[in-house]
Each structure stands twice: as structure tokens, then as C-alpha cells.
Symmetry: D3
Subunit: 325 residues, 6 copies
């Protein structure tokens, strides 16, 4: 694999890369730019001006291509002057070489399945089984990223990892707050199922679906639950119980302006909201800590305010308080 | 019918009244207050203190009762000192005597049905027919109020009236903006169907259902559409068309902080949002103009800022610009 | 005319272009950039560094010039390396070749004048006639753009077109809301007259005047009305009627934070606010739909969030719901 | 004069009082309440129920009346049970007995007139003279309160006092900031002239006029300036100078959401905004310090948060830091 | 003990009660109201009018008194008509009879002390020992309420209970987020120490101190830490370590508008913020669930929106999902 | 000294320059950029790509270097292509040549010291003397900039200059508002002392310290005061007096969202807040007026909205109102 973080001006490139985006730039002077990448990073092509863009006529997002060209400098960054672009057959490079991933998912499934199996309320377990007992659901759920672009957990398997974190945190808050721990666990497992229909990742490009844009993962998740329940020959839970589970999905963003359909009305829904937010924000900070852009050369203070984290400065301290390492 | 706007201290009361609310007041000194009313207004009972409330043990919201008592004064308003309260059989007084209503609904149906019949896009009409061609739906739709409490169109039939207003306004904006007028009309007809499961009104008391509180009429409407479409043996429209219609429902509040799941993404959804808001706000102003509390004695300036209308003063001008009346 | 959307690197240019802006860039390294354009688009010149800018010493915004030079690439866009710049006499190229325009305005005048003539309230018509019966006013009103820069209706004639749209929408809302339709029409015609003193466009460059910046079109419009009324030998309407008309102008932005002097206090002023907003927002969406930058290559989803439209994604759907085209 | 702060339950009243308000209370049970007062405070009458309100049929706001009645207790406060109400001739009690006032205004005029006379820029002084050299203007300006109700400087003469304070503060900031001190002084003198047409006070009741409600004192002030300038046979200043003065009026509230038409664009306009705000807020704090409601019994911490002052607690400290008193 | 939730109009009272507040009401008609209470609730006295208030001249907040009087009704609630008020010696009734408390605190100390003892970083433990190893500190810390008035944990011992909850939640989030669990625990223990100087509770009345009002518990806590560290003969930690601990205190409110001096800059500070908020909000919901005012008569939906919880409705569901109880 | 505002493409450079920043740019293609400057302006170096950055391995912020290279053009600005970079000994160029400064500070000290000496309250003067009577404090106080980067008074000596302005303005407001002028003066002198520990400037680079980031100058200032008071063998003022002075520091930003720990609770603290804001905003406008970027070529309207000043347009008017210059 080409290591995109170590290329320099003048390097010759002739490696397989994923087409992450085909940016049509309109305006007064139309042009097209390819965004190419693999697991190690990304690089933009030099612009293909309108009328001179035959080389990329058939290139589309998600294709695997072999680019031959040279690295040059542009706008204070590096770009790729491509002399030839050839489409490679799908699957000729492993997806894990091309995109970030959380790694093996067995430990996440183990935790979720054990938690689910331990639930003593039969109707609660029955609703969860509709999803987590279904193999097709599990295959998609263990691949789906937590976010399509720059968000937290934007990796293959990120949704599963995030869901585990939310369950772990939510159960502890539930114990402290003397809430219904099983109900909180169930809400945590279900809260983001709408992301399965809101994101695409199959081609190695994380994107939002048309449905994801038009309805949002919150409303989609609620509809998925309603549809699954309606499809059962016998009701698996009472009407009020179904409403309570739907409410977890609809309220987990906490406030209307953050996309919740309603504010959390139950202690358990409030707990889910906190656990979801805590998992998301701590993951975002850990991702920022790992970013060579924000923390180049092991610096301790971030190089700028972090916009995604409420525009704040971050500090990676190494104070050990005298602890022996 | 007792005219509640003309009673005075010392009047004897012995009329049928609707129990609009049974307010349990807790705190340090628990008590219960009945809110009683009919189409002409409402009056509160004197409080029934805990331990001395046998007379109202079986009274619940929505009951029709005959109260015998006397009007007294309390907290700068009038209240009813009840000596006896007797439950009357349901239906012994006509609902239209007890609650506000928009009156005959034929003209509203005529407009909606003609608009629907004139739609040239077959799959659009087919989706509308799933709802507006269904008698059970129509019966509920023509009764449902536009809001449960103090909101605009809070009358029997208010939802139907509001829907007509939205279609009328939205079509005109669509013509001006060269949008798809049929699509806008369809979106307008569907936008508030979730209110059918969010409100109750059958007993003469307008209230919000548990589902209405836990999910909101926006999300409920989207689920109703999804469920209805899924229940058809053959698809009545394409997947994208279904998404566009669902998007009308999910986005018609315009902004997330006002309860939209997503912002309007199409010209037609934006038009629906404006038409909905224009119908709601102009109705609210007309209702304020008609309020004897805001405009006592034909005053021209409202007696106070109107909180529901963004805390503004209102003026009812009678300037005629020399027009012959 | 040079088609600025089809030029490429290396093209030789020797065409008349309008000087849209002369951007003095200060800071540590002063330089000047010309923004040149015609109806087909715009292009920036290469920077003229301080001390080497003799060629443009006499060039100012609004001049018509003939530029000889070559197209080069800079910052991912095209720019013009000028070798000579010669000022052309004003009027040697027709304004309509140089700036966007709504086209013939007869149909707009026809609608406005008929609406005005049909008004039955004599004092209302008399006030409108002070403006719309004045030829000098009409000449400026039919040219004035709706906005100076990137706003909606930013075309020659845009203000007239926008005014017609507002009247059309406002009358329909007035009918639905049982408001005074004639008063609403009059308010709609007058609401933006302050733009005549707030914008300049005569030289082909849409700009804001010093008065426009220092006072805003809302306050200017109110003063224009007051001055016009004060200049009449006999009052053409009562004091209260004058206040109501002034109130339309002062309140049409709806909220203080959007530039209204006061919130709408009458049903008619509220209607004008909605109609103004609906015309503006739908025009902005239609302009976004037509933008090759937002929708390059007939894409359906916008290439990015549209900042001017509350930072949202836009969808141009072509779903026809089975309609025969 | 009756001292309204020392009456008790059971006291007999038979004194002249001003009718501060005639509150028509509509709603389910219409009634009317008189608010009566003099310089020492105010008291509400017991409600006059609809149909039993003959005694007050001819009473209107601003009348001087003699009330015969008894003090009783109601809603945790005192009220007046009136047995007879008789209208007294206007002027039979001096206005200064009836309403709060800043006292003699000579010192304020002295400061303003000296400041004006010292201005070296002839056109600036000429514009000020249009207003402050006009006797009719001066008579109204020295009476007008700074606010109609609970706002700062809500006393007869309050506007004049506030204007002096603003000039005093603004000149000092101008000196520190090396701004045009004369221009700032002129802006300060003119900034609130619109209040003359926005408030009424002649009858002893401070109120907002219809024009004040419909246009606001900011827009009215700008129109007053424009009209005065237009009425001169010869221009007294240049167009740009007129705009700069108008800009003081239009921008002095600082932000659009606080009622400014535009944000301050010049150093001098920014200074005026600060001086206006500083005068207003410090006056509001001094008025709060003097309030027996907020600081009963010489308490040091306010009895509650002060809503008008951004909902904060106030402290009246008497720390003297060892200073000899 | 008198049970204040079960008294009725006409009851004779002659019990010891705590003076919770002496409300001086100024305004036009000055008066004083006593707020009296014990652990079972509170009741207001009838007002003592100025000049007739000898009976309470010497009564002040925090006194224990014996009131003889009768229960009457006023403003829709009950009040106490006192005929005599006699001051009782302090301590003649146990504090736990008079105010709410979290009960025995041993289990909370056990958890905190074990957690502290298990910390492996010596300088971290040393800083904690400065406070939690000090007996005077412990005595105050185990009594201090979590809030002075209506806030969460407003009980004797509430601060200690809240601190334990925060440590419990924060450690779990730290484990999930791979943060420094010991550092998070230390931050959690220290975050609210400023409340010791911000609140008073010794007399049975929870109140805010003058310092608490003038500086806030956040700034006070930071100063307490700085002072304690400065008072040591040898530094117990490095300068940067001290800053990190101070940062926990200064940032734990998360956002400036909620009172944080700075936003959390480290992963550990962010975790503390979430844990603090989760403990506070879940406690507030549990307290609302237990409120007879919000949930009278075991109702499931709250009787109104809960203002302290972001103005939302609450639901106490009893769905058991088929679980055997 | 090299005049950085007059260099052009192709110029050879071989001058001493200060290293203002060493920007490590991470991301997909790591690189380093030097920001170099002197009192006349700043210029960026061409990027040094990772692996080819030996020349700058030992360069760090604050160093004085001699750069040999050529001016080239990049991204529409000028940059420096360095062929050699040599570190010069500290102090070989005077700091005043390298950074902006307010000039001689004697006049500022004179005003502050006279004001301090005239204070009649002994305990107030004693507290001020702890700081302003201390030579080490004075040396740092007279150098410290008012802001580290682009803020107002970002010059050597800026804090002292700003403090004088605040005292001057605050005293005048105090006189107008009949506040304690001595107390206000003391608060003004102390309000920003926390900046001494929040900024660094010694090397010619204005920066924020780690403590400044983690605690903010408001909290640091409060701690500095507390520590200084605690260090005295005898109390120099009462506890309440100390709180009042601390309150000035903690509340001077006026609102929590602007970084105040608490809102101003006293008249004097409110006055300080206004004076601080007025000094800051007028300085920012004067600095904008002097900026060649905002006002190139003596233009009157700013070239763009000024983001730091609430995103407004600025006007530098030269209207003289007929005044003889």
C-alpha cells in the first residue's frame, strides 16, 4: 500500500486507490477534482477542466482505480497530476486496506449478546431479538460506520463499537440513578438502528443515502421499529411498551435543535441521551488526540480550536502525578 | 345553555357542564379543582381539599355533570361553590353545545376532494386516496381539532379547515414560484395526518395522547404514511416518491428547533412550510382579535403583549381609507 | 460576447468586460485585483502588486474596459493575466449584455397597475399613485435589482418582479385569512421602495449606497413615504392611515433581529411579512437550482450545504409520480 | 396628599387620585379594575363586574377623581373598595403631586446649552439649533419621561436628564478614544428625540402613543430629523453630514435585536451606543437600589433577581474601606 | 411532628416550626410574611402589615419558633393565622426533624475513601488528602447540601451523595474512553468543593452566602485549591498538575453560559462534565418523580411541564415488559 | 529594518526577522511553515515538507533569525523562499524594532499613580499598593500586551494603556451615576491583572500561557488577589471588602457567555464592565481604521465586514460640518 502520509513533491505514483469523491465544481469555470485515498490518507487530483476531462468521464465515487502520475504542490498541499487512470476490478484490493475500521468485532458482539441474553423481561428481549437475532441485520450492523464523514466513530464497525460504549455507560448511570437497567440497555441497543438505512459504506466510501438526507436517522429508526413490530403475527409487546422503545430512538439527541423529535420524557430516555453524548464526545476527543493535523509532532496543545468540539482548544497532558509507569 | 360570560357573584347554577379538567394540585397542601365549561366559556370550582373530596371521587375529565351551586369570587375571578355534582349520561347534551367547532365541513371537503380529483399524476393521487378515500379516516379527519389546547384552529373540524387553508396558500405560492403545484397540494393534504393519533377530542375535551407526547405528530405522521404504503399489495409509488412525501411531513415545521426532523430540502417542501406557518399565524391573529380578554370593549390596541404571537402588541385598526362600506 | 463559462487555460482574451469590482487588498503585502465580468459570468485578474499597478491606476468600478490577456490557472480557478487594459466609452456595449436581468417588464407593470386601479378605497389608491403614478419613480423602480449582491432577485428588474410576487402571494393569504386584501396589496407595493435609494445599478454594478449602509432600506423607505406625504398640499389620507402604511414598511422583516423596526402588529402586516419571505426564499431556491456550482452536471443533491438558505442541503427531484410529461 | 405607602386595612379614603389605568379584563368573566395613584404610590380598586359597573362608566385614564371608600385586603395586597367616584376638574391638583419628576430642569438645560454653544462646527450647531433652539421643542423635551412605564428615567423630565448623562459620558469616551467630541455630543443630544412623539405624559399617565407602537422611537426620530432638514429653505448641512446624524439615531441601540435599524458604523456612533447604555443601566440600578420592593428594610441583597436587569441579584454594599465619612 | 401535608382549614396549630424565610414585601403596601416549615413541608403565615408587625419584630431566618394559630385558606392554598409566636431554644428539636437529609453518610464515605486510597499516583492522592484527609473539611463536606434551594440534591449530605455519584459515573466513562481513571476520580472529588463556602445550612435553612453570590462556587473552589496548595511547606504536585486539577473545577459546567470559566480542554475534564451533568439531571428527574405536586395521585404524566428540566413533560411509566415482579 | 509592506516578487531578503510562529501542519501531507516578521508586518515562508525540513529543525517560536532568500508569490500573497536560516543571538536587535508597542509609558503611570495616591479610603489604597506599589509587578504590568493575538491593545504596554482608559471612562460614569468613584477606580486598576499570568511576550511573540488557556485571565486574576491578600501578616481590608474587589475581576466581562464568572451585582461593577467594553471596542475600531487591509488606499467604507466587531461594516467619515481645520 502506498503510504499517503509520506509522499513528497516529485514522487511517482502508480498504485491502487479508492475514488472517495468526484467533485464537480461549477461556477464561472467548471472543473472536476478526484479525491483519491486509501487507509493511510487521501490526496486530491489536479483539476480536470471542462472540455478536457475525457480521462475521468467514466470514473465514479467508490471505484477502485490505478492512477499513474506525479505528486506536485498546490495551494500549500500536495496534489496528484494524473497521466492515466485505469479502473480496477472490485475486490482486487481488500476493503480493510482502503478504509479505516475498528478491527475484529467479536468482542463487541460478545458483550451485546450477553447483555441481551441476561435481560429478564421477556417482551423486552423479544423486541431486541427481532433485530439482533436476525443475521442479515447483524451483518449490516457490524459493518456500518458511526458517521458518514468526519463525525465520531467514522470507521467500519463504528456503529457497533459506539453502541457497546453507550450500553456500558448507560448501564452504570442507570445503576447510580436507580433506573430500569434492562430498559436502558435495550434503548441503547436500538437508538441508532436508523443509521443502517442512512449511510452507505459498501464501496469503501462513507456517504449519506438519499433517505438519510430526506428523513434523518432518527425518524428512519422509529419507522424501522414500527415496521418490524407491525410485521409480527402476534404483538411482541404492549402498545405502551412499543411507544417507550420508540421514544428512546426519537428523543436520544436530547434537544429539538440537535435533531430530537421530542425531549426525553423518562428517566431512562434521559440516561440514554447522556450515554450517547458521552460516547460521541469522548470518541471525538480521542480522535482529535490522534490527529496529526491537530497535534503535529507530539505537541501538547492543539494547533487550533477544534471546530467539531464546540470550537475549543484541546490539551494532551502527560502529567503522571508521580505514578510509576 | 348557561352563558358563562354573563354570570355574576351570587348566581345560582344548576346546569349541565363538561368536566374539562380535574386538576390535582399537590405540594404541601393537596387539593383538587374541577374546570367546568361549555361552548360559552369555562369556570373553576372552589378547591376540594384532600380528605374532603368525596363529592368528586368519581368525576373524571370528559364527563358531563350537573352542578348545583353558587357563583362566588376568588382571586379576582369568579368560581363555583358546588353543593352537589351529578354525572349525566353521555350524549344527553349535544357535543356542539359543549365545545367550539368550525361548523359544517362540507365546503372544506368539496375543495379538498376537487383538488385531489384534479391531480393528473396517477401515483400521487393513489397515495392520497389511501387516506382521503377511506371513510374511517375521513370521519376522524373532519372532527380532529388543529391543536389540543390554546393553539390555532383549536376547534372541532379545525384540522380540516387548516388543511384547506394550507392547500389554498401553498398552491398560490407554487404558481408564483413555478413549483410542482400538484406535489405541493399533496404535501399540504398529508402534512398533519399525524395529529389524528396525537390528539383526543371525542369526549369534548381536547387533549394530547400518550403517543402524541412521546413521539410528536411529525414522527407519527411519517410512520402512518410508511405503514399505509407498506400495507399495499403492490407499491402505489416509487421509493423516491414515497420519500418525497414523507419529507413533506418530516420537514414542514421548517427548523429543527420547531420540531422538524429535517429542514425542507425541496422547493415544494419549503412552500408547504410557508403555507402552514401562514395559515397558523393568521388564524392565531384572528383568534386574538376575537378574544374579549385581549380586546375588551372593542379596544383597538391589545390589552397586553400576546405571548403566543412572539410577545407582540396587536392592533385592530378600522381605517377604511375612504372606502364606502 | 465572450462566454466566460467556457474559457480554458491558455485562451487569449480581447473582449469588452465590465469592471465589477476593484479590490484593494491591504495587509502586509498590498495589491489590487480587478473583478471583470459580463452576463455570462465573472473572472478575476492576476493581482497587481503595489508599485506595479500603473496599468490600472485609472480603472474604477463600473467602467467598461477592453482587456487583452491570457487565461491562466490560480488557486484552483481561472484568472486573467492582463497585458493591456483600455477604457471603452460608456454605452458602447448594451447593459443587457453585461448584467443579468429579468427581461421585459411589461407584464409586471400590467399586473401591478391593474391591481392598483382596482382598489376601491380612494385614499389608499391616492397614496400609491404618489409613487406608482410618477414616471421618474417608475423608471427607477423597473430597473432596480432586488438585492445588490448574491441575494435573491439580484437582477435588473428584480425589485419589480419581487414586488409582483409578493402582491400575488399576499392577496391569496389575505383571502384565506379574511384580511383587507386591498390594504395588503398596497402594503406589498410599498414595502421595498427604500431599495431605490439603497442600491445602485446604473453602471452595471449592483452595489449598496452610502445611505443604504448607514440607514438600511427599511428606514429609508419609511422616510420616503413620510416625505412624499408631507409634500402634498392636502393630506391624501388620515394620520392613522399613514401610520398603517408606514408600519408595513417598518415591520415587513418580521423580527427585530432581521431588521424590522417593530414586529408586525396587524393581520395585514403579518401577511405581508409572510409573502415577502415566501417570495424571497422560493426565488433563492430556484436560483440555487439553476446554479452550476451547486448542481454541476445535473446532479440531484446539491454539492454542498447552501449557506444562504440556512445551511441546508437541497434536492432537485425529478419524480413525476407517473404523470405524462 | 394621601400617603399610599402607609395605608392599612380598614382605613377610610376620600382623597384626589389620578386614574392611572382602566383595565378591562375580558375572558370568561369580564370585569374592570381602576388603577389609582399619586406620587406616593398606587392602589387597585376592587373589580367592577360587567353589568354592575355604572359607577365607572365615564371614568377614563388620566382623569383626576375623588374616591370615597375603604381599604381592604385582596390577593396579599391592599385594594380600595370604592363607594363613590367623582371626577375632579383638571388642574385642581398640581401635576407634580401626582407623578414622579426629576425636579427643576434648569441645570440640565444649562449644561446642554453651554455644550451646544461651544460647538465650533457651524453646520453641526445649525442642525442642533433646529431642535434645541425651538421653544416648542424645548417645552416638550424638558417634560418628556425617559420611558413610559417601568423603564429607566420614567419621570417627568427624565428624557432631558438622560440626555445630559449621555452627553457627559459620551464626551469622556470620545476624549479617551480620540473621536470627534463635538460630533458625539450632537449625536447624544439628538438620539432620543423620537420619544417626543412616542410617549404621552400630559395627563399624568405615562403611555406609548399609537405611532410609538407602530413605528418605534428610533424610526420616528429619524423621520423627525429628515422632515426638519427638508423644511429648511437652504440646506443646513451636507447630505453626508445629514446621514451621519441620522445614523446616530438609527444605530444607537447597538444591535438589531435591541431595535437598532443598523449597527453603529462609525467610532462616534459606537461611543453614543455605549454612553446611552451606560446611562440607562446605571439609572436602572440606582432605581432598583431605591425600590422598597427590592430592598425592603435596608436589606443589602435584593429580595429577588431583578428581571429588568438581565435577571441578576443586586448588592447594596456599605463597605467604606476605612474611609472617614 | 406536625405533618404539614395533612392539615386542613380550621386546624389549630401549636407546634415547633423552623423559620425558613422572613419575606419583607415592599412596594406600595409593605408587609412581612413568615415561611415556616419542618421536614414534612412548609406553610406561609398571613401577612403582617407594616405598623402591625410587633409580634415578629425579633424573628429571623433560621430561628426555631412555636406558633399558636389556626389554618385558613388564602390564594387557593392554606396559610397560618398566628396569634402568638414564641422563640424556642436552638437544638430543642433535632435538625433531622426539621430539614430533608440523605440519611446516614457512612456508605458514601466508604466508597470515596476506598477510591482515594486505591489511587496509585502519589501526588494525586496527596492533593486529595489535603481536603479529604482533613477532619474539619469532612464534617462540613458530609453536611453540605448539593444546592441551596430547589436544585438537585438539596438535602443535608446532598453534596457528598452527588460527589459519589459523579465519581461512579465518571470512572465508568473513563474506562470506556480509555482515559486516566484515577485523574478523573480526583477531579470528580474536587469539582464542587467551592460549595462549602457558597452555601449555609447550619441553621436548617439552605441559603447562598454573600461570597457564593459574589463569586460563585466555581471560582471559590479554584481559589480554595490554590490556597491549600500554597499553604504547604513543600509543593505536593507540579505546577502543571495543579493547573489540571484547577481546570477540573473551572470547566466542569461545560459551557461558559452555564458558568464554566473555560470549556473542558482535556478528555478527563470532559468526562467529569458529563458525569456531573448526568448525576444532576437524573437526580432532578427522580426528585420530580417523587413530587406530589408534579405527580399527584400516582398519575403517570406530569401535571405540567417541568421548568427546571428544560420545560419538558415527564412520564413515570410502569411498563414491565412481562418481567415478573 | 526591512519594510515588509513594500517588498515585491523577486526581492532578495537577508535581514533579521523574528520567528512569530512555527506552524506544524499535519494531515495527509505534513509540512512546516515559518511565520516571520518585524514591526512593519509579517510574511510566511514557503512550506518545508516533512523529511526535507532539516534547515528548520532547531528553529522555534521567539527566535531571532537571519533569513536569506527570495520573495515569491503564493496563494495571492507573497511568501519567502528561504535558502538559509541562521539563528541570531537574543538581544542583537531591539525588541521595539520587532514588535508593536504603545511607546513611552510614563504618562500612563503618572495618571494611574496620581489616581491611586488621591484615594482617601485607606484600606482601598492598601490593596492597590500590594500590586501597584510592587516594582516587579510594575515591570511586568507596563510591558504586558492587552491581548495575545489580534485583539484590542495587542501591543507592548497595551494592558497599561487599556487600564488607564478604563479608569478614565469608569470615573466619569461613576460621577454621572453618583457611584463610589474611588471604588470604581480601584476595580478598574485590578480588573485585568490576571493577564500577567495569561500571556507571554518576553520573546517578542505574544502568546497565551498554558495557565491562561486552562483557567482564563478572569479566574487567574481572582486567585492572584486572594493569594496576595492571604500573604499579608495582617488583613489589609475586611472580608466583605475583599469580596467586592474580587467581584470586580470576576464580573467585568458582564455576561457568563463572555467569560464572566458572575454577572455584575453592584453599581460599581456594572460601571467597570461598561468602561472595559467601551475601551476595548473603541480601540478595536481605531485599530480597524488604521488597518491597510480594511481601509486600503484611504477608502471610506471598509473593504469588508469586520468580523471582530460583530461582523459590521465600518465608515471612516471625513465630514467636518464646516469646521475650520
Amino acid at each position: 500500500m502506498l503510504d499517503l502520509s509520506r509522499i513528497s513533491v516529485g514522487d511517482d505514483i502508480h498504485h491502487p486507490l479508492l475514488v472517495l469523491d468526484v467533485q464537480q465544481k461549477g461556477g464561472d469555470h467548471p472543473r472536476t477534482v478526484l479525491v483519491l485515498g486509501n487507509r493511510s490518507g487521501r490526496i486530491e487530483s489536479a483539476p480536470f477542466w471542462a472540455g478536457r476531462d475525457e480521462a475521468i468521464r467514466d470514473i465514479s465515487k467508490g471505484m477502485l482505480v490505478q492512477v499513474v502520475g506525479t505528486v506536485s504542490e498546490f495551494r500549500g498541499s500536495l496534489q496528484l497530476d494524473a497521466t492515466s487512470i485505469r479502473v480496477l476490478p472490485k475486490g482486487s484490493v481488500d476493503l480493510s486496506e482502503l478504509v479505516p475500521s475498528v478491527g475484529p468485532v467479536d468482542k463487541y458482539w460478545k458483550y451485546l449478546d450477553e447483555t441481551r441474553a441476561a435481560i429478564t423481561a421477556p417482551r423486552l428481549r423479544a423486541v431486541l431479538d427481532l433485530f439482533f437475532g436476525d443475521d442479515a441485520f447483524r451483518i449490516r450492523f457490524e459493518q456500518c460506520p458511526g458517521a458518514p464523514g468526519n463525525g465520531h466513530h467514522a470507521q467500519l464497525g463504528g456503529l457497533l463499537q459506539h453502541t457497546c460504549e453507550v450500553v456500558l455507560i448507560a448501564r452504570q448511570i442507570a445503576r447510580v440513578a436507580r433506573a430500569d437497567e434492562e430498559l436502558v440497555s435495550a434503548g441503547a441497543m436500538l437508538h441508532d438502528i436508523g443509521k443502517l438505512e442512512s449511510y452507505t459504506w459498501e464501496e469503501g466510501v462513507f456517504d449519506t443515502t438519499l433517505h438519510g438526507r430526506l428523513a434523518g436517522h432518527v425518524a428512519i429508526g422509529a419507522t424501522m421499529l414500527a415496521t418490524a413490530l407491525a410485521a409480527q403475527p402476534e404483538p411482541v409487546c404492549t402498545t405502551e411498551e412499543a411507544m417507550l422503545l420508540e421514544h428512546f430512538i426519537l428523543s436520544h439527541h436530547g434537544k429539538l435543535e440537535f435533531g430530537a423529535a421530542v425531549k426525553p420524557m423518562t428517566l431512562e430516555a434521559e440516561i440514554l441521551h447522556f450515554a450517547d453524548d458521552a460516547s460521541a464526545k469522548t470518541a471525538a476527543i480521542n480522535e482529535a488526540y490522534a490527529s496529526s493535523e491537530l497535534f503535529p509532532n507530539d505537541s501538547r496543545i492543539s494547533s487550533k480550536r477544534v471546530w467539531q468540539l464546540d470550537n475549543r482548544w484541546l490539551l494532551r497532558s502527560e502529567a503522571d502525578f508521580g505514578r510509576e509507569s
